[in-house]
Amino acid sequence: MATLWVVMSFCVPVGNGQLSIQIDHYVGQKVMELDTVYYRNALGQQFTVTKFKYYISNLSLQSVAGKTVKLDEYFLINEEEPVSKRFDWANIPEGAYSDISFVLGVDSVHNLTGLQTGALDPINAMFWTWNTGYIFLKLEGKSPASTSSGNIFEYHIGGFKAPANSIRTITLHFSKPLIISNNGTHLLHLKADALEVLQGPTTIDFSKLSSVTDAHNAPMVANNYMDMFSVIDDAK
């Protein structure tokens, strides 16, 4: 079977297509608007969001036939910069794909090999000051329930070594296969719900935990946001 596949790939030139990934930010049912819109967490506490940014890396697509296509690139998605919420992945072999996976964060190799550029440039302020390496996700905002100065809350999640390992691989299954055709561009529309950072499995109470910037609590928040992504079916 494998031999046949090799022979076929020699005989039939496999074309390439492009995937354009668009991520929309929500807070629960509402579209995210920085600073201006009030939302409520699971405890009914009111809050605004002032910052929402995170890294996506190690993207991979699983084909229906069981093959995997990988992309070795880092993307910094930042609510403040709308263009960052859409990025392209070129040269994907044509075919039908069933799942997409990606890492929310920065893998240990990129944490340990010195200065990086592009999305990982330290100028992007996604670097921990008193803890190891890159910050994977930042959610900041204000809530009257927070007792911190200025009623702020800030969750900076990072850490790549067990037990303080907050690297999470997220896999999304397509309800019907995603088709990449030769020279075609397919739009994949994703939703990221920031409310999920604050709940499930652990509900965060702004009055009790308004700041996470250390290795101890970070994995707990990472477990929360693992399920913040979903596929938006534009056909519906």
Binding site: L112, G114, L115, T117, P122, A125, T129, K161, P163
Partner: protein
Amino acid sequence: MRKKQAVILCGLLLSILLFSFVENKYFLITDKDVELHVPNGFPKPVYKFKNNRLTPEKFMLGRMLFNDPILSKDSTTSCASCHQRIAAFGHIDHTLSHGIYGMIGKRNVPALQNLIWKDAFMWDGSIAHLEQQSIGPMTNPIEMDETMPHVISKLKANKDYVERFRLAFGDTDVTAERLLKSLTQFVGLMISANSRYDKYINGTDTFNASEKNGLSLFRANCSSCHKEPLFTDNTYRNNGLVPDTALKDKGRGGVSAVASDNYKFKVPSLRNVEMTYPYMHDGRFRKLRDVLNHYDNKEKHYKGADKAITKISKLSDHDKVDIIAFLLTLTDKTFLYDRRFVDPFMK
């Protein structure tokens, strides 16, 4: 008469010329100055300047940045404010680090030396790469409280720096990567390996009886953690200090989230230990004598003290005197007075 005046004038001009020439030469960094020499007996460096080839221009840029308060939010505090050359780049006579707005940090400023042999930085090893290290103090609110975009914008607005970046990197782009790599060149070449101890090991100097006895006591009791020739094994250990209730510093445990790492701190090198007082991660001991007394008073050690410390034999007063005599041989004047590391703003 007029002739005499002319001679004086000429002499004056000549001395000004000569002085400025000497001065420039003093601060000039040549290719030879940035050659990396791994000292005899040292292991292979962890950081090898790969993707950051040493050049005089980058080193000089790093030297300028290290000494320039422009890297702090209110432009009052430079790296050199706390890392003083004469103290092997520690902060002499300061228990805890000082930040901008007069803020006090929670740890003693560590010396900067032989950094390219370290696999992690800070007392808790929180920063895992030399090139990333200076991001920590620059952006920590209780140290220099800056942001990388703001530092870059300040440097871009400074014509002198733009020119220095061009000289170092070939174009006028001022980036965080270039800033940090230049700083890495400057601190990475801070190598101390020419103390009397080194000369003794190399057979070019002698020890007196007290120093010799100190060395053998040191090897029997201290060197399992303060391993020669770097005088650290780069591990984290609980050395039996009762935690400071105000600082609430868990050390390595705060980074690793492993309970057994609580109150462990990185074993510091003892090179230039004469100049790096006060001692310990919180600077609680002013004298080497206090440090030795702490290790000697095992009954006062905090729970979980490292096994290596519990094994230290009872030290007599004579032993302590000899160990200190030996520790003073680790002072490296070649390093402490190395002109390459002198603040260029003194020019």
